[in-house]
């Protein structure tokens, strides 16, 4: 039987990558196009005015936001930030945490790492990132690129302990196998064992972990967006009720800046939310497909 989850996952994820790379080409409007407000007058009984936000229509498939920006266009322009930063952060977490975990796991002496990391792990990741970014992100004089670099670095650092602990425990379990003992008896160092013996064995696990990390990073970005920490910088407009705007228009930021549109004009919030959920769904399907592909070999079966 064909693993349809894998097919769906691969299709969706590659579609999202295409959107991320070529998104601006598909966009129906320019990035800073604003649908103008105006009035119409046909006859004395039929007149009035129209103003943004415009509901979804043929001209604006997802509608426009409160200032008249086309939501589909903003989503297409912002996709690259959300998707690439999510993937790159997760990959960096996996590389650094995985490497450290394998090397320390292979070392002879036992370490008590769970204590320190357990404590740090109980502070939610987004609180740590929030406190790091809160002073410098709003109306920041730093460039968008610099801010993204800082944010990515912090998000990587926050995630490393989790990856490290998981890989460490997997490595210590695998270390019991005879082929590791044989290899180290032949004089192989821990780096060689890690690359030649552990990596091939852990490949599938790493892939699953990477996808899980991507989803975790995406939801971390979303949580930060809720607290007005947007990827690439937040613009705060005062004078009237404070308005927070995402510079890069990344999806988490769009959700964050529009999160109060639950009572009226719900399309403004609904479509970015839908896009975000679909993104997570794509990675999740891929994850399930890979999981099911490699399931089975070592499992016990229940007696009742």
């Amino acid at each position: 039987m064909i693993n349809w989850r894998l097919v769906v996952g691969i299709t969706l994820v590659s579609a999202f990558f295409i959107v991320a790379i070529f998104g601006p080409l598909f966009a129906p409007y320019e990035k800073d196009f604003v649908e103008p407000s105006g009035y119409y007058y046909n006859n004395p009984d039929d007149f009035g005015m129209y103003a943004s936000p415009y509901p979804p229509s043929k001209a604006h498939i997802f509608g426009t936001d409160e200032w008249g920006y086309d939501i589909l266009t903003l989503l297409l322009y912002g996709a690259k930030y959300t998707i690439f930063i999510g993937v790159i952060t997760a990959v960096l977490r996996m590389i650094i945490g995985g490497f450290l975990g394998m090397i320390t796991g292979l070392q002879k002496k036992k370490r008590r790492t769970d204590n320190v990391f357990g404590l740090l792990g109980s502070i939610p990741a987004f609180i740590i990132v929030y406190f790091t970014m809160t002073g410098i992100i709003v109306n920041s004089p730093l460039s968008t690129g610099t801010l993204i670099m800082i944010q990515t670095t912090v998000m990587v650092l926050v995630g490393i302990p989790g990856v490290y602990a998981a890989v460490y425990s997997k490595t210590t379990a695998l270390k019991q196998h005879l082929y590791i003992t044989a290899s180290s008896a032949l004089g192989a160092g821990s780096i060689r064992i890690a690359i030649k013996h552990l990596l091939p064995h852990l490949q599938g696990t790493f892939m699953v972990m990477l996808l899980k990390e991507i989803i975790l990073v995406l939801s971390l970005m979303g949580q930060l967006g809720i607290f007005n920490i947007f990827i690439g910088g937040t613009i705060l407009r005062l004078g009237g009720p404070p308005v927070y705007v995402s510079i890069t228009r990344d999806w988490a930021g769009l959700i964050g800046q529009w999160r109060s549109f639950i009572f009226d004009y719900q399309w403004i919030l609904f479509y970015p939310l839908l896009a975000f959920v679909l993104l997570i769904f794509a990675f999740y399907m891929l994850l399930r497909g890979i999981e099911l592909n490699q399931k089975g070999a070592f499992h016990k079966y229940p007696h009742i």
Partner: protein, 287 residues
């Protein structure tokens, strides 16, 4: 000894965390590290504990409140939400996981797994939109979308959101454990003796899954605390999160105090859940 060390570590961690915004600053367009401001704030806090200055925080432009007087109300509200949803999560998790571990349908696992992957804020926003659109199309008010004031609490939606994520986490982990337990030899022995299925579940499966639940409790508690921030913020609940995020400007003392209160919340909730599992142990694993 170890507990004391972790407590000291945690308090130090909170101090450092709260000091980060004072340390990282921007002046003339570039990042600068300013350690003396943070150091000053920390020493002021320690000195201020004696005369009570550390517990004053600014509200609005010129009103000062005593943190110790304000905090019990917020704390109890947060505690109520989190304990209720925590107990729900543990009960539902135990009940569903035994059934779930036997289910062969992969699509059930797909759905439950996906629900577990959806971030909390998306769940909150979707629930809010759903409630509003149900109201707009039928005129039927299902639940409050957000708390409106001190006496008008949103109850149903925050509890659902808070309970759903740990429940799914528990279902996933406990069902794996239950699956493993059911493959053990003592289950086969019990089956060979002709014991009924229910008897085996209650006497052997549940009691062997309980230790795993106990071991997972810290993880459940930390998941719930991190959800609590988002849930309270988005539902406008007047809990501890209000103290942490709704201040005017950045106040070091207030942040430290609020984070310490969160630790207190964590400990109390953990104790309550632990007590509950202790009761379950009296029922299922009493010898």
């Amino acid at each position: 000894m170890r507990i004391a060390l972790s407590c000291i570590g945690m308090i130090l961690g909170i101090f450092l965390l709260a000091a980060i915004p004072l340390t990282i600053n921007i002046s003339t367009g570039s990042l600068v590290w300013q350690l003396d401001g943070a150091w000053q704030a920390m020493t002021n806090y320690v000195i201020g504990i004696v005369n009570g200055d550390s517990f004053l925080f600014q509200e609005g432009t010129n009103r000062f409140q005593d943190f110790l007087k304000v905090v019990p109300r917020h704390f109890l509200l947060s505690l109520g939400y989190i304990v209720l949803s925590g107990l729900t999560a543990v009960i539902l998790g135990m009940l569903v996981s035994t059934w779930y571990s036997r289910s062969k349908q992969e699509w059930v696992k797909d759905i439950i797994g996906f629900l577990g992957m959806i971030p909390d804020f998306i769940l909150v926003l979707f629930l809010q939109i759903a409630v509003v659109s149900v109201y707009q199309s039928t005129g039927w008010k299902v639940a409050r979308v957000a708390s409106k004031g001190v006496h008008d609490h949103a109850i149903l939606l925050p509890l659902i959101t808070l309970a759903i994520i740990p429940t799914i986490y528990l279902i996933r982990t406990l069902s794996e454990r239950a699956y493993d337990v059911m493959g053990e030899d003592y289950i086969l022995t019990a089956k060979a003796k002709g014991l009924t299925k229910w008897y085996i579940y209650i006497q052997h499966v549940v009691r062997n899954v309980l230790p795993f639940l106990k071991a997972d409790l810290h993880k459940v508690a930390s998941i719930m605390i991190s959800n609590l921030f988002i849930v309270e913020y988005l539902y406008n609940v007047n809990g501890l999160t209000k103290l942490l995020f709704a201040s005017t400007g950045y106040q070091f003392n207030l942040t430290v105090n609020a984070l310490l209160a969160f630790i207190g919340l964590y400990i109390v909730m953990y104790a309550v859940l632990r007590l509950f599992i202790g009761c379950l142990e009296r029922i299922f694993a009493y010898d």
